[in-house]
C-alpha cells in the first residue's frame, strides 16, 4: 500500500500481528467494516465495543473461523492466510471463545489435550499430558479437576479449562474473548495477574472485555469498535474510564444505579429448608437454605462461584429436583412439586445462568425465542396453530424496546447473534412476561456498559412495578449497586445477611470466603 508496509515486510515489523482493512459481511449486516488492528509483541491489547460491535467476529477472522471479504493479516510483517483454526494454531494463535467449545462428556484433561493428544506408538500417553496440565494449572493458579466431566463443573472451571487448553498448546498470541464475564472477582484478579505474567514472558494478548476497570488495569493499549467500524486505538496510560466508554457508546454512561428506597410488600417467594444433593461429593450442594423475597425488593445472593447458587436457583425454578422436606412457596402457594410450566404461568420469570444451555434454542430465530414460554398463549396461537403475524409484531416491539441488535431482525437465527445481544433477547423476554418474581442469574453477563445501565434500570423499574427480584451475581459492583438486601452463600448455606448501605465489599468478601459467618444463619433446622 505504501512505503511503510514495504519496510515492514522487509522483516522488522513492530507488530506481531497486524490486521489491515478487514471487512466481514454477514447477511443483513457489515460486522467488520475496514478494521485495522495492530498487536505489538508482549503487549496486552484490549478490544472494546458495544454488544454486536464486531469484536468476536474480528477475532474469529484472526483465528481462521471466518474468511473476511476484504483485508489482510500479517504476522511479523509477513502476509499470512488463515483458512481454519489449524492454520491459526500453527501460527501460534490460540483463542478462548466467548461461549466455550468444550466437549461436555469428556473430562477436563481430555478436553485440554483434544487434537494434540500425546501418543507413543499410536497409543495415548496421558501421563505426561496430565503432568504438564497439572504443572500449568499450578504455575498459573488455574485450579481445575482434571478428571471431572465438563458437564459437571462450573462455568468458571470451564473457563479455566479453556485457558489451560491454550497454554498447553504453547500459543504465542492469545485471544481472550470476554474471559472475565464468568469469573469471580477473586478469579479475575488472578487472571489479570496471569495475563500480565504471560505478557512479560513475551506472549501477546488480545483481550475482549466489557469491564472498563479491567481494561484500565491490565491493558497497554485499547482499540475501540462501534457498529462494525474502527473508532480508534488509544494508550491506556493517556485515557480514563469515562473517555473510553464515551468512545465506545458515543455518549456519556452512568455507572451507578439511580433508585429509590425499596418498599417491600407481601412475600412473593418463600423458600424453607431447601436442600439439594451434591453432584459427586457427599456434601449437599445446598443445605437447608431458607429465605424470603418480598414484592418491591431486590434480594441478592452473593457468593463465590460454585457455592451452591446455581443448584439453589435450579431447584427453585424446577430445573432440578430438591430433597424431601424442602418447601417453595410462590405468592403464598406451595409450588414445590409444581411443573416449570405452572411456575412460568404463575408469576415466575427466570433469566438463566447459561444462555446457550437453557436460555435459547439457538437454531430458532430471534422471534421464536422471544415467545419460548408463551407460544401457546391465546395471544400467539389459535386452535393449536401459531399466529406468526402476532409473534412478528411482538418481536418487533421487544427488539425496539430492548435495543436487540442483529443482522436480520426478528428472523435472525439466534445462533448468529452476538453474545450480548443473545443475552438482551433473554432479558427482554423475561422482563416483558407478566411476573411477580424475577429470578435473575448473572443478568448482565457479557453486556456492554451502555446495555448494563439500561438493564439495571429495567430491573429496578420491574421492582418498582411490584415484582420481587431474586438476583444472583458474582459481580460485587452489581451486588452493591442493585440490591436492597444481600445474602451471602457459602458452601451451600446462607452465612450472612447485609444491608448494602451498611456494609463494604471487604466485609462481604470475608463472608464469601467463609472466614466469617453470622450466628444462627443458615444452620439447617431439623438435621
Amino acid at each position: 500500500m505504501n512505503t511503510n508496509t514495504t519496510n515492514a515486510s522487509a522483516g522488522k515489523s513492530p507488530y506481531v500481528i497486524e490486521m489491515r482493512g478487514i471487512t466481514k459481511i454477514f447477511p443483513g449486516i457489515i460486522a467488520n467494516d475496514d478494521i485495522t488492528l495492530q498487536l505489538k509483541k508482549g503487549e496486552i491489547h484490549a478490544l472494546l465495543g458495544e454488544n454486536g460491535a464486531g469484536k468476536s467476529t474480528l477475532m474469529s477472522v484472526l483465528f481462521g473461523l471466518y474468511q473476511p471479504e476484504k483485508g489482510e493479516i500479517y504476522k511479523n510483517g509477513e502476509k499470512v492466510t488463515i483458512n481454519d483454526p489449524n492454520d491459526a494454531n500453527a501460527l501460534g494463535i490460540g483463542m478462548v471463545h466467548q461461549h466455550f467449545k468444550l466437549v461436555d462428556v469428556f473430562t477436563v484433561l481430555d478436553n485440554i489435550i483434544l487434537g494434540v493428544e500425546p501418543t507413543k506408538y499410536g497409543f495415548l500417553t496421558k501421563k505426561e499430558a496430565r503432568e504438564k496440565v497439572l504443572r500449568l494449572s499450578k504455575t498459573y493458579g488455574l485450579n481445575v479437576d482434571p478428571d471431572a466431566l465438563v458437564e459437571d463443573i462450573t462455568v468458571g472451571m470451564q473457563q479455566r479449562t479453556e485457558i489451560l487448553k491454550m497454554l498447553y498448546r504453547e500459543n504465542e498470541i492469545l485471544i481472550f474473548d470476554e474471559p472475565t464475564a464468568v469469573l469471580t472477582p477473586q478469579e479475575i484478579t488472578e487472571l489479570m495477574g496471569i495475563m500480565k505474567g504471560l505478557a512479560k514472558e513475551g506472549k501477546s494478548i488480545l483481550f475482549i472485555s466489557h469491564k472498563l476497570n479491567e481494561i484500565m488495569e491490565v491493558a497497554d493499549r485499547c482499540t475501540v469498535l462501534r457498529k462494525g467500524k474502527y473508532i480508534g486505538t488509544v494508550d491506556i496510560a493517556d485515557t480514563d474510564i469515562e473517555r473510553l466508554s464515551e468512545m465506545m457508546v458515543g455518549r456519556e454512561v452512568h455507572f451507578t444505579v439511580d433508585k429509590d428506597e425499596s418498599k417491600p410488600g407481601d412475600v412473593v417467594l418463600e423458600v424453607k429448608d431447601l436442600t439439594v444433593k451434591g453432584h459427586s461429593h457427599k456434601k449437599n450442594a445446598v443445605n437447608g437454605v431458607s429465605l424470603k423475597v418480598r414484592k418491591g425488593e431486590i434480594v441478592c445472593v452473593a457468593g463465590i462461584d460454585g457455592n451452591g447458587q446455581s443448584e439453589f436457583i435450579s431447584a427453585i425454578t424446577g430445573l432440578t429436583k430438591c430433597e424431601e422436606g424442602s418447601v417453595i412457596t410462590l405468592n403464598g402457594e406451595d409450588v414445590t412439586k409444581k411443573s416449570i410450566r405452572y411456575k412460568n404461568t404463575h408469576g415466575m420469570s427466570h433469566i438463566p445462568e447459561d444462555r446457550h444451555k437453557h436460555g435459547l434454542v439457538l437454531d430458532y430465530s430471534l422471534e421464536q425465542n422471544l415467545v419460548l414460554q408463551r407460544y401457546f398463549e391465546k395471544e400467539f396461537s389459535h386452535g393449536g396453530f401459531i399466529r406468526f403475524d402476532k409473534i412478528r409484531d411482538y418481536a418487533d416491539v421487544l427488539i425496539a424496546e430492548y435495543d436487540i441488535r442483529s443482522g436480520q431482525g426478528p428472523v435472525t437465527p439466534a445462533r448468529s447473534m452476538s453474545g450480548g445481544n443473545q443475552q438482551k433477547a433473554i432479558i427482554a423476554r423475561e422482563l416483558d412476561r407478566p411476573h411477580d418474581l424475577l429470578i435473575a442469574v448473572q443478568p448482565t453477563r457479557g453486556l456492554d456498559v451502555g446495555a448494563i445501565e439500561s438493564i439495571h434500570k429495567q430491573i429496578v423499574s420491574s421492582r418498582d412495578a411490584g415484582a420481587g427480584v431474586l438476583l444472583v451475581s458474582l459481580e460485587l459492583d452489581e451486588v452493591m449497586n442493585l440490591s436492597d438486601r444481600i445474602l451471602v452463600m457459602y458452601e451451600g448455606e446462607i452465612t450472612g445477611e447485609f444491608d448494602p448501605k451498611k456494609t463494604t465489599v471487604q466485609e462481604l468478601g470475608l463472608y464469601m470466603a467463609g472466614a466469617k459467618r453470622q450466628n444462627g444463619r443458615g444452620e439447617a433446622d431439623g438435621k
Partner: protein, 402 residues
C-alpha cells in the same frame, strides 16, 4: 466484469439459502451415487469378458431412466404404477424417521414398527367378517389397528428414553427383533397362513376376505400394476405432518425439544411427554406404511420373519436423509429411490449385469446422503474459497501487469 460479479453474488446468496443448499446437497449425493455405480459397471466390463464398455454405458443409462427404460409403453406404465404404489410405504417410513429426527431422536425401530403394523392390519382384515361388516369399514379398522400397534411399539423406546434416558437406538434395535419374533409367533399354526404348499411362508392376501385399498381406476391407467390410492394417502399424511411441524404449537415444541432439550425444559415444555409422543407418531407412521402395503390386497406377507427385518423400515432412513427431514421432501425422495429401483430391475432384465448393481447405486446414494450435511457445509466453504480465489487471481494478474 461487475455484472458478472453481481451475478456470482446472486448465486451465492441463492445457494446460501438453507432449503436450496439441502436440495443441492441431495443432488450431489445422488450424482455421487450414480457416478460410483457407473464406475462399478465399468470395472465389471473391464474384468468380465462377457460385458463390453458400451454395455456399461447403456447399463447406467438404464438405471438412471428407471421405469422409462422398460422397453415397451405398456411395460413402462406397469412399472410406473408399481413404482407409485411401492413408494407409499416408503414415504411413510421416511416420515417416521424424519419426524423422530426433528425431535432429536433416531428412529431405527421403523422395521419393527412396520412388522407390527403389517400384523395388526392383516389380523383385522382377515378375521372380521365382511359379510356382516362393510368391507371398507373393515379396511379402515385394519388400517387403524396396524397404525395403533405401531404407535405402541414406537412408544416403548420413547418411554425408556424419556424416563430412564436409555439411548433410543438400543431399545429400537431390541424392539425390532422382538417384533420379528412376536409376528412369527402370532401367525404360527394359524388359519391366517396361506394354504397351497408353495405359499405356506405367506399370509393370505386381504383380498381373500374382500378387503383391499380403493383403486379409483388407477390400476386401469397403469394397466396390470398394483396401483391404488395409498400414495395419495401417504402424500396427504406428509402434508399434514408438514403443517403440524411448521404451523402448530405442538410442532414448535417438538422441534424445540429436538434442538435443545434443556431449553425446552427451561421453557416449561414437557420434554418427556414430547419424546414419548414423537416416538409414538413415528411408530404409527411406519406401521401405517406397512398396513397400506398389505391392505393393497394383492401382496404376499412373509410371516416367518424372525430371522430378518423388512428393508422398507430401514429404507426410511435414506428417504428421510435425502429429504433433509422435510416431510414434503420425503414424498419425492421416496419416489426417487423407487424410481432407481425399477431401473435396477430393468438393468438385470436387459443387460448381463444383475440388479444388485442398482441396489449398490442406491446404497451409495444412501451412504452419500448421510454426508449431506457435510456437503452442505462444504458448499458453504467452497463458495468462500471461490470468492477468495477470484480475489487472488485478480491480484496475480495485477502483479503480472506491473
Amino acid at each position: 466484469m461487475e455484472n458478472k460479479k453481481t451475478f456470482g453474488e446472486k448465486c451465492a446468496a441463492f445457494v446460501r439459502k438453507d432449503g436450496v443448499r439441502s436440495v443441492i446437497a441431495s443432488l450431489i449425493s445422488i450424482l455421487g451415487g450414480i457416478a460410483v455405480g457407473f464406475i462399478v459397471l465399468l470395472l465389471l466390463a473391464a474384468f468380465d469378458s462377457d460385458v463390453t464398455f458400451s454395455q456399461a454405458l447403456k447399463g447406467i443409462l438404464i438405471v438412471i431412466k428407471g421405469p422409462f427404460s422398460s422397453g415397451s409403453a405398456d411395460n413402462m406404465l406397469f412399472q410406473i404404477g408399481n413404482m407409485l404404489f411401492e413408494a407409499a410405504p416408503l414415504v411413510m417410513t421416511g416420515l417416521s424417521v424424519a419426524i423422530a429426527f426433528k425431535t432429536g431422536l433416531f428412529n431405527i425401530g421403523a422395521p419393527g414398527q412396520y412388522l407390527m403394523g403389517a400384523m395388526g392390519a392383516l389380523v383385522v382384515a382377515l378375521s372380521l367378517p365382511t359379510d356382516t361388516i362393510p368391507s371398507w369399514i373393515v379396511w379402515i379398522l385394519a388400517l387403524l389397528a396396524g397404525t395403533l400397534l405401531g404407535a405402541v411399539w414406537g412408544a416403548i423406546p420413547g418411554f425408556f428414553k424419556a424416563h430412564f434416558n436409555v439411548n433410543e437406538v438400543i431399545v429400537c434395535i431390541m424392539t425390532n427383533w422382538i417384533a420379528a419374533n412376536v409376528v412369527s409367533w402370532v401367525f404360527l399354526d394359524t388359519d391366517f397362513i396361506n394354504t397351497p404348499e408353495t405359499k405356506i411362508n405367506f399370509i393370505k392376501k386381504t383380498s381373500s376376505n374382500g378387503v383391499a385399498t380403493a383403486k379409483l381406476g388407477l390400476d386401469k391407467i397403469f394397466e396390470g400394476s398394483y396401483m391404488d390410492i395409498s400414495l395419495i394417502i401417504a402424500s396427504l399424511v406428509a402434508i399434514a405432518l408438514y403443517i403440524m411441524m411448521n404451523k402448530t404449537t405442538f410442532g414448535y415444541e417438538l422441534k424445540a425439544c429436538g434442538f435443545n432439550r434443556n431449553a425446552s425444559k427451561y421453557a416449561g415444555m414437557n420434554e418427556k411427554r414430547n419424546i414419548l409422543i414423537s416416538m409414538s407418531i413415528a411408530g404409527a407412521l411406519a406401521a401405517c406404511g406397512a398396513a397400506l402395503w398389505v391392505l393393497n390386497g394383492s401382496q404376499d406377507f412373509k410371516w416367518n420373519t424372525y430371522m430378518s427385518l423388512p428393508a422398507e423400515g430401514f429404507n426410511g432412513i435414506p428417504a428421510a436423509l435425502l429429504a433433509s427431514n422435510n416431510p414434503i421432501g420425503v414424498i419425492f425422495s421416496s419416489l426417487f429411490l423407487k424410481f432407481l429401483n425399477k431401473g435396477g430391475a430393468n438393468l438385470s432384465a436387459q443387460t448381463p449385469f444383475n440388479e444388485y448393481v442398482s441396489q449398490l447405486i442406491v446404497a451409495v446414494i444412501i451412504y452419500f446422503s448421510g454426508f449431506s450435511k457435510l456437503f452442505r457445509d462444504m458448499l458453504a466453504k467452497k463458495l468462500k474459497g471461490n470468492e477468495k480465489r477470484d480475489g487472488d487471481s485478480l491480484k496475480a494478474k495485477g502483479g503480472k501487469k506491473e
